[in-house]
């Protein structure tokens, strides 16, 4: 069931909205000094699936591995272009209890990121309390990341990609009923630059569209670039 439920979100998003990428900035904008402001790169979460006949999402390990390499490399390109100073965050030196908190932070970010993504895409889902400036935080437990890495910001990246293997008759029927069409796969992603002192998401970039391919370096680079388009220093 979980496959289908996960699949529904980008699918619905795709059916209903055509825009490709958006960005949100907190009132307190990120202060990135070219080449000097340290950013801790959290473990990137990339998942690639093949949509088999009917829309069952089949996990593809080789694609996922490729995509991870491509996305990492693409982040490297963005890093150079935007003159960011990225360091990897490695939690394994922390005591187990702290590692558990770091794990909870990643889970919290996933939930917060998805909620922010949905509110960003569907104005109807944005409560009146969230109408003003982009205002999301994941709390001050992130200070641990700063202590371990010496970084000013943390970068959380989530990307999910699925590709059609053709013959998805049933799926297309459903989608047609909802008034849309899906030819290729879908691409969904969000990235957050988190202030490691306050936990505030200083910049939030999203990506969601029918085109794109993380299996090849060039389109992967283009996708990551698109997702990061609104991040500037």
């Amino acid at each position: 069931m979980r496959y289908f439920r996960l699949a529904m979100i980008p699918l619905l998003a795709l059916v209903l909205v055509a825009c490709q990428s958006t960005g949100e900035l907190a009132q307190e904008r990120p202060q990135l000094r070219p080449g000097t402001t340290k950013i801790a790169l959290m473990p990137i979460d990339v998942q690639l699936f093949e949509l088999t006949a009917g829309g069952l999402e089949e996990p593809k390990a080789d694609w996922t591995r490729q995509a991870e390499v491509h996305v990492r490399r693409a982040i490297g390109v963005v890093q150079t272009e935007k003159q960011l100073k990225l360091v990897d965050f490695d939690a394994s030196t922390l005591p187990l209890e702290r590692q558990k908190v770091m794990d909870q932070l990643v889970r919290l970010h996933e939930v917060v990121g998805l909620e922010a993504f949905l509110q960003n895409r569907f104005p109807q889902l944005r409560p009146p309390t969230k109408q003003g400036h982009f205002d999301w935080s994941i709390g001050t437990e992130v200070q641990t990341i700063a202590e371990v890495t010496g970084a000013r910001y943390g970068l959380f990246v989530f990307m999910k990609d699925s590709y059609s293997s053709g013959g998805r008759v049933a799926l297309n029927v459903v989608v047609a009923l909802l008034g849309g069409s899906v030819r290729g796969g879908t691409q969904l992603g969000y990235a957050s630059l988190v202030d490691l002192q306050t936990g505030q998401i200083a910049w939030f970039g999203t990506l969601q569209r029918a085109a794109g391919d993380l299996r090849d370096q060039e389109p992967a680079e283009e996708a990551v670039r698109t997702m990061f388009a609104t991040l500037s220093n």
Binding site: R5, M8, L12, L16, V101, Q104, L105, R107, L108, E110, V111, V112, L114, E115, L118, Q119, F122, Q124, L125, P127, P128, T129, K130, W136, S137, I138, G139, T140, E141, L178, G199
Partner: protein, 198 residues
């Protein structure tokens, strides 16, 4: 908690139809939250549309950051033999409240209702204490649970049982950051709760 399952469909319907999903509740505004109870909002909250919560068992659900993050939920009139929550399309038998229950019984009733309706792997209650609610002697306690995404969630329950009716307010949010953020506001709202006509 409860709202997530049935809500996906309804959210979809609302996205498609562009109906109002929320109404704003301004600070200082006194609003009804179910049968015979009004509260005054403290801090900024949004009330989730009644159509969206109609099959949850709650009379009003408010949120600050969004329905997948935090809620303030009101149960204004649970009567003897009735459950706290509703699980649509399910044969799950939920615990029922009965007149004559002691406060420890009620705490276990809430704990069991949440655990059973949501098939929670883990929930634990703590710090049951006397607490005045709606101007009547009542109770308060906290709970910690782990949801299906294995995220730790914390909750506060404040209620009172009198005149053959159980009335409660629950506040739930992720344990990290979010619970503490709006806890004071939730407690302040509980303190403003009044029975209409009193």
């Amino acid at each position: 908690m409860k709202i997530r399952n049935g809500m996906a469909t309804l959210l979809l319907v609302f996205v498609l139809s562009a109906c109002a999903t929320y109404s704003k509740v301004d600070t200082g505004q006194r609003v009804p939250v179910g049968e015979g109870i009004t509260v005054t909002a403290v801090g900024g909250w949004a009330s989730i549309s009644h159509q969206l919560i109609s099959n949850t068992g709650a009379d009003a659900i408010w949120t600050v950051d969004g329905p997948s993050i935090n809620h303030l939920t009101f149960y204004s009139a649970i009567r003897s033999g009735e459950p706290m929550l509703v699980v649509p399309n399910s044969d799950v038998e939920l615990p029922v409240w009965r007149t004559g229950m002691t406060e420890p019984d009620v705490m276990e009733f809430v704990e069991g209702s949440l655990a059973k309706a949501n098939k929670l792997p883990f929930i634990e209650t703590e710090n049951l204490r006397p607490h005045t609610f709606l101007g009547q002697p009542g109770f308060a306690f906290e709970f910690n649970l782990v949801n299906q995404k294995q995220l730790e969630i914390r909750g506060l329950v404040i209620g009172t049982q009198a005149g053959g009716v159980l009335r409660m307010m629950t506040y739930t949010a992720p344990k990290l950051h979010f619970f503490a953020k709006d806890e004071a506001s939730a407690r302040a709202i509980a303190a403003t709760a009044q029975l209409t006509g009193s």
